[in-house]
């Protein structure tokens, strides 16, 4: 073999060997990461958005097929977000655009595909709420809005989605007739208060409730069905006896029965007939609290568990958290202690124990907290206190099945955060008028200090709705 001038055959062979060795090492490294490694971020084309960063090590949560393109990704989006991408929760559902008459419009902005507006791994163009579409996207279809709504004449193309104006998806608190219906409401409603939780009252309606095994009756320690050796901790037994579980007939084995680790329980050397597990998991909770656990898995607290990953840790959060809580992990028991599951503590202490942002830190100086203290100390009516959960895990009426609905604590605390006017219907309007609520959520400083003071600005939506209705009435009356 003849080498280049100045090179010997030996040095060329060595170079080939080095290349071959480097290639093999490289291939082995990437193959190991791909098939065995937990952290696959080396393959990532760009950082994930705040909405998905927890799933960085689980590429196949979204990329369910390595060779799938748009349809695969769309299916992944819908598998987690699809239930609220329908009417009435979404004013721009996919079905609205699927008619062939929209072909030209879709060629400019394909609103049937989530990634048209929400591309992942594109940190450099990602705006608030994970939007990667330029801010003029409303204009594509609504450029002539001023003809229908003269009040909108001259408004900037980038102002449509301002807080209190319009939401592309959940616009349920901002549509014209809703504004009209809530004109002239006071800042604080006369009958301010949250609806009562009613899980215990609707047990009869729950088809999944194991009523034959655990009849609804109050239990005491003598009724406990845990193996004898598991009943030695007096504190645990006393906590269970004082809990709502014992009050409603939920015995030890209702939770401590292995579901996901059946084979391990089968191998129990003690040979207990009950497949006892010391550490019940979310699946156990879900056997009665399915709606709550499902919602938990859709929010940032539980999305890792829902994806089959280890629980989210406080230290991995992108929001400001207390350093001394960094090691804590998020499961059902993180907020609801195993036996002493105090919903009062879960509604405030559990939150402020981890979250350290200004809004959370300011909470204990707020009127909301004063009301919470009053209620929990017995000086306020039930439902009049305002905890963290009152707004971030609101009590909403939810369909249990085709025939029943009940008040559910929405355990997806991410659901109403952005845009923040999604919080209006489920939370703010329980106590405040619509106008006051919209104004308060427009005021960033007021949000930071946890609503200490009054809104410093006024949204024009309600006055515009009033003007529209008044002019319509005049037209009807021939004036």
């Amino acid at each position: 073999m003849k080498g280049l001038p100045g090179t010997s055959t030996g040095s060329i062979s060595l170079a080939w060997l080095v290349w071959l060795f480097s290639t093999c090492v490289g291939c082995a490294f990437f193959a190991h990461v791909l098939f065995k490694g937990e952290d696959k971020t080396v393959f990532m084309p760009g950082p994930l958005s705040s909405g998905h960063h927890q799933l960085a090590e689980s590429c196949d949560s979204c990329h369910t097929d390595a060779f799938g393109g748009g349809p695969v990704l769309q299916e992944s989006c819908e598998s987690c977000h699809g239930d609220v991408r329908k009417k009435p929760f979404d004013s721009h559902p996919k079905a609205k655009f699927s008619d062939p008459r929209n072909a030209d419009m879709l060629a400019d902005l394909n609103a049937t595909q989530c990634v048209t507006c929400h591309q992942e791994h594109k940190a450099e163009i990602t705006l608030v709420n994970g939007v990667t579409q330029p801010e003029d996207f409303c204009y594509q279809c609504h450029e002539s809005i001023a003809e229908d709504r003269p009040s909108h004449e001259g408004m900037g193309f980038d102002t449509c989605a301002n807080s209190g104006c319009h939401n592309f998806h959940d616009n349920r608190a901002l549509y014209t007739d809703f504004l009209v219906k809530h004109l002239d409401q006071p800042e604080v409603l006369e009958a301010a208060g949250l609806p009562e939780r009613e899980f215990a009252d609707v047990l009869d309606m729950l088809i999944e409730y194991p009523r034959e095994q655990f009849p609804v009756e109050t239990l005491s320690q003598v009724d406990a069905d845990a193996p004898e050796e598991k009943q030695q901790d007096a504190t645990v037994m006393a906590q269970w006896e004082a809990s709502g579980h014992a009050e409603q007939g939920v015995n030890c084995t209702a939770c401590h029965t292995s579901i996901a680790i059946e084979s391990k329980a089968d191998a129990d050397p003690a040979g207990n007939e009950v497949h006892w597990t010391d550490e019940p998991m979310a699946e156990n909770c879900a056997s009665c609290h399915g709606i709550e656990v499902e919602a938990f898995g859709k929010g940032k607290h539980g999305m890792r568990l829902a994806a089959g990953l280890s629980p989210m840790s406080v230290g991995a959060a992108r929001l400001p958290m207390h350093e001394d809580a960094a090691h804590q992990e998020l499961t059902c028991n993180s907020c609801h202690a195993a036996h002493d599951y105090d919903v009062v503590s879960a509604a405030v202490e559990a939150c402020v124990g981890c979250h350290a942002d200004d809004h959370t830190v300011a909470y204990r100086n707020s009127k909301h907290y004063a009301l919470w203290l009053a209620e929990t100390e017995g000086n306020g009516k039930p439902g009049t206190g305002v905890s963290c959960a009152s707004c971030h895990m609101p009590r909403v009426s939810q369909d249990v099945d085709d025939y029943n609905s009940r008040i559910v604590v929405d355990h997806n605390q991410s659901a109403n955060l952005a845009p923040n006017s999604k919080m209006i219907r489920g939370a703010c309007l329980e106590c405040h008028g619509l106008g006051f609520s919209i104004d308060a959520l427009m005021d960033d400083q007021l949000i930071v200090n946890n609503f200490q003071g009054l809104p410093a600005m006024k949204n024009d939506s309600l006055p515009m709705a009033r003007e529209l209705m008044e002019s319509h009435e005049k037209r009807k009356n021939g004036q």
């Binding site: 079905a95 699927s98 008619d99 062939p100 008459r101 072909a103 060629a107 002539s144 009807k476």
Partner: protein, 201 residues
Amino acid sequence: MKTRSKILFASTIGSAMTLGVAAAIANDAADTPSITPKTMADALHMVMDSDRAVYTRRIVNRLAAKEKVITASEHFEDEKALVLPAQMFRFGAEMVTERAAENPDVNFSYSLQSLWPINSQNAPKTDAEKEGLQFVVDNKGENYYTTEELGGQNYFTAIYADTAVSPVCASCHNDHVDSPRTDFKIGDVMGGVVIRIPIES
């Protein structure tokens, strides 16, 4: 083989062949194109129109206008009210679109549009829609048929007059804040049902 067995054997074979031929003929009949896009569109429209007329007259008119036991509202969930007939129609159209996407062999779409739409997104967009909606207004009792190409796909497009079959159709549109026309009366053509069936060329 005895004679009786031979007869039995021959009968069995004969019966099997007869059944086979009958089945083949039935299959052929099911698979043989014998319906034109126009006939299919007319049939679809007959079902749609009848269903909506039944819902309007026997549900909405009876319970909301006559008996007054419930209202019908555009915001039916917030108002705990009946779905408006036009919404009922649109929800069906959206469901058909979703289901047809999963079953391309049974592919068609339909929509309700108007030259005077409450929601401007339901105004005619394509040339066929503009011409067809005007045609059914100008030629009462006649339908409009054409072909068009949208997004690279050819369609047979049929447009049928949508008439105010009850006083509430007219009054609701006349009273709506976003209605561009306020003088509808019963019997007026208020818009049109547009049915599209994909065709090859």
